[in-house]
Symmetry: C2
Subunit: 124 residues, 2 copies
């Protein structure tokens, strides 16, 4: 995690230590980079005293081999975050989708992650 501020976060997966037998980044490491974004956006966007996060579904499409570190930025608008939080507080839970581009050091997309996450109201 390289940067996190209200409603927005960035993360990086180093190539070193995450390679497959071809010397490119392992599919599971790319998945983890995408999946962690649900937790990151939770941390920077929602009231974690009242809400807990959950991952429901993740889809990853591999576009090209990753031969450098891989980067991802994730963000919600304040309005999106407020809407999700309000739905969760009102209804007990709220789903939200995000689609994320995973890019290499040259800015090329190496994978696209679509995820369905949920925040749930914590029981008192």
């Amino acid at each position: 995690v390289t940067d996190a501020r209200r409603f927005r976060a960035e993360a990086k997966m180093p190539l070193a230590g995450n390679t497959n037998h071809l010397g490119t980044m392992y599919a599971g490491s790319l998945f983890s980079l995408g999946e962690v974004c649900g937790g990151l956006i939770y941390l920077v966007s929602f009231d974690y005293d009242q809400l807990a996060p959950l991952v429901k579904e993740v889809r990853i499409r591999f576009v090209k081999p990753a031969r450098t570190d891989v980067h991802v930025a994730v963000g919600l608008t304040p309005e999106q975050a407020a809407d999700i939080e309000q739905r969760a507080l009102d209804q007990g839970k709220a789903d939200f989708e995000m689609t994320l581009d995973l890019t290499d050091d040259h800015g090329d997309t190496v994978a696209v992650v679509s995820g369905l996450w949920q925040v749930r109201r914590k029981e008192a």
Copy 2:
């Protein structure tokens, strides 16, 4: 990997060492268990002197928290394997889809993985 024979393989991900902060299995470990099935089915089904494997897309739907080791079995019929191999040899590459149930020690489904893999003809 617990078992692999022609056209069929089984694999297991131990809970120990793969837990998240809730003590259930980490999403990335479940993904890896599903993703590796593409490589397993390649090893047990195709002529690896002539064909190389590639993962194109993986979708994982989390059904319930995994509190035990997690198991997966993967298999193609000999006819399916022959069809994929023939398409790859004729056209240079062939996509194939598999949907896999990841189950716990009680036989309950903890996640469902759908993947799109490809085998490509190796250049001489």
